[in-house]
Structure formats: structure tokens, C-alpha cells
């Protein structure tokens, strides 16, 4: 979506145009859910938190500075709500990978005609996903934002509330951890 369209919608939301707000929700709902999921690793909680974030956006839209990008602001709200929920639920326990997989953590496109090749690639992807889910939250969030949402370093920095240098550092160490955890990934790829 173009920046101009987003700015227009945000301005309409500031004028309390519910139709414009709905359009904004429709545009960002899946990204919001995906980002919340990267913290919560639970589909129901991610859905609830992403919806609560949009409600907060509507209530606080008057405080949103014109010219600022909407997505980083939305993501920062989601992050704080998610972390608060985690703290409240004392969700420091490790979620079993089976739980994560059952909650359909990730999708893979089924493009290969070669079953063997598809199996091998699926195994690699599962290793990568497992390694992503086992990262500490501060590393997992930058990996998810970069690899699954394709945000720039600057956008990640704005969303998470850290300097760009820290984004790069965390991304580097997260990738190192993934590489170590999925040795066959890089050997086979």
C-alpha cells in the first residue's frame, strides 16, 4: 500500500471516520496477527492482542503524529500488549514445539513436484521454524519482522523501539543461532 493512501486513511481516522478505520484494519490485520504471534506463539492470544491493539489505535489516533509511519506505531503497541500479557500469564515456560506446530505456526508453499525434494525442504523449514521459536523474544522479534514481514532495519527499529545498530546486531546473532541450530539448512541449501 502506498504511503499516501496510508496517510489519507490515518487522517480520516483522526476525523473519526469509522469506514477509514475499518479499511486500515483490513489492510494490517494479518500483519498485526503475525507480529503478535511471534511473541505469544498462541493463535488465540495473538488474535486477541492484535484486536486490542487496533482498539487502542482508534482511541489514541488523535495522538498519532502526522507524517509518521503507521505500521511501526501499530507494531510497538502490539509488542507492549503482548509482553504485558506474557508477564501477566507468567508465560515464561517453554512452549513445546508440538503445541506450536499444532497451532499452525507457519505455512509452506507446496511447489515441488519431487516428493523427496519436498520432504527434505520441509524438514529444513521445520528445523528453522523450531530454531526461530526457541530464540529469546528480543531476537525472535527481529527475525520475524525481517524474514517474515520484510521490514527494513529502520522500520524494525521504529517498531521495536531500539536503534538500527541494535537491530543489526540482534539480527546477526539470531541468524548465527539459526545457522548453528540448523546446520543441514546451510549445507543443503
Amino acid at each position: 500500500m502506498s504511503g499516501q493512501t496510508e496517510s489519507f486513511l490515518v487522517e480520516r481516522c483522526r476525523a473519526h471516520d469509522l469506514a477509514a478505520f475499518r479499511e486500515l484494519v483490513e489492510l494490517y490485520k494479518k500483519q498485526a496477527y503475525g507480529f503478535a504471534f511471534s511473541y505469544l506463539k498462541n493463535a488465540d492470544d495473538a488474535l486477541t492482542i492484535s484486536q486490542d491493539a487496533f482498539v487502542k489505535v482508534w482511541r489514541a489516533i488523535d495522538t498519532f503524529e502526522a507524517g509518521r509511519k503507521f505500521r511501526p506505531w501499530l507494531f510497538s503497541i502490539i509488542k507492549n500488549l503482548a509482553l504485558n500479557l506474557i508477564a501477566r500469564k507468567k508465560n515464561r515456560r517453554e512452549v513445546s514445539i508440538d503445541e506450536v506446530m499444532e497451532q499452525s505456526g507457519y505455512d509452506i508453499p507446496d511447489k515441488s513436484d519431487n516428493p523427496q525434494e519436498m520432504l527434505e525442504k520441509n524438514e529444513i523449514r521445520e528445523r528453522v521454524w523450531k530454531a526461530v521459536m526457541e530464540l529469546k523474544p528480543e531476537f525472535r522479534e527481529v527475525i520475524i519482522l525481517k524474514h517474515f514481514h520484510d521490514l527494513s532495519y529502520r522500520e524494525i527499529a521504529e517498531s521495536v523501539g531500539i536503534p538500527e545498530g541494535t537491530v543489526m546486531s540482534r539480527l546477526y546473532h539470531a541468524r548465527l543461532a539459526l545457522k548453528i541450530a540448523t546446520k543441514t539448512c546451510c549445507d543443503d541449501a
Binding site: R22, V55, V128, C186
Partner: protein, 166 residues
């Protein structure tokens, strides 16, 4: 770049004979920026020139590119379409109810306050009505205090201040 290639040992292996300003840390950033398309055109040209003479960086680049190729084929799993169809409705209901609660609370305070006032100034009000007013006001006060206490407890424990509150 493996975990053993760090610090002084790495800089000797990686950047031997290269310009002093191009330390290992500088190269780590360059590999990342190159893979993530965060470099401008002159930067890319310089880095590609550097790659011709630096095997360590080529290896690091290959490894990082391989990882990215795997994650590029993955995405966060989609929820069923029925969930997305109800998504906006859930948000709308939450917004609507918060507005409704606001009006309800304001209205309740006005009605309760006026009822108490009338009860005091008008001796002709039936006892049963007085009892109803008193019980309603007490019940509302208890509910209000209970919700307020819970909200204060939650806010105290919520370490992560919402962006909108900054």
C-alpha cells in the same frame, strides 16, 4: 560466519591485507546489509569488489543467503477465512462497548447523585424507593472500586508502557 571466527583471530583471518578501516565488525555489517538489500549502489559495488578477495566474507554471505532462501519460502500460517471475516466485527464490538460503558457510567453517576439528592430533600419518597436507591448506589460504588482496584493492580504490574501512553 562460524562462532569461532570472532575477535582478533577473526580479523586476522578475514581481513588480512585489507584496508585497516575494514574491520571484521564492518564486514559483518556489510554482509548483512548486502543480503538484506540495505546498501546503496556504490556500497554494493565496493562490497562486491571486496568479495573477490575475501573468502571469509564470501562464505558468510553464502551461509546468510542460504538461510534467507529457506525463510523466504515460509510465512506465518494463515487462520481460516471465517476468523478473518469476524475480525472487524470483534474490533467494532469492543470499540462500541467501550463507548457504551462510558455513557452508562456517566449516566449512572448522574442518576445516582440526583437520586440521593432527591432522597435527602424530599421526605415524601417511599421507603421502598429509598431502599432501592441506597442499594443501587452501594452496589455501583462497590463495582466501581473493584474495577478500579483491578485496573490499578494490572497497571502496576504492566512493565511495558503502551506506546500511546508515552
Amino acid at each position: 560466519m562460524s562462532s569461532s571466527l570472532r575477535g582478533k583471530k577473526v580479523s586476522r583471518l578475514c581481513c588480512k591485507g585489507v584496508d585497516r578501516s575494514m574491520t571484521l565488525e564492518y564486514h559483518e555489517q556489510d554482509v548483512m546489509r548486502y543480503v538484506d538489500r540495505e546498501m546503496d549502489a556504490p556500497g554494493r559495488m565496493n562490497f562486491e569488489r571486496h568479495l573477490e578477495s575475501c573468502e571469509s566474507c564470501r562464505t558468510a554471505l553464502e551461509e546468510m543467503t542460504a538461510l534467507k532462501e529457506v525463510t523466504d519460502t515460509m510465512k506465518i500460517a494463515e487462520l481460516p477465512e471465517a476468523v478473518w471475516e469476524k475480525y472487524w466485527t470483534s474490533i467494532y464490538n469492543k470499540v462500541e462497548r467501550s463507548v457504551a460503558w462510558f455513557f452508562f457510567i456517566i449516566g449512572s453517576i448522574i442518576v445516582s447523585g440526583y437520586s440521593i439528592y432527591r432522597m435527602i430533600v424530599d421526605p415524601g419518597i417511599d421507603s421502598i424507593l429509598r431502599l432501592g436507591i441506597v442499594l443501587t448506589v452501594i452496589g455501583a460504588a462497590i463495582l466501581f472500586l473493584s474495577v478500579l482496584r483491578e485496573k490499578m493492580a494490572v497497571n502496576r504490574k504492566d512493565r511495558y508502557i503502551s506506546e500511546v501512553d508515552r
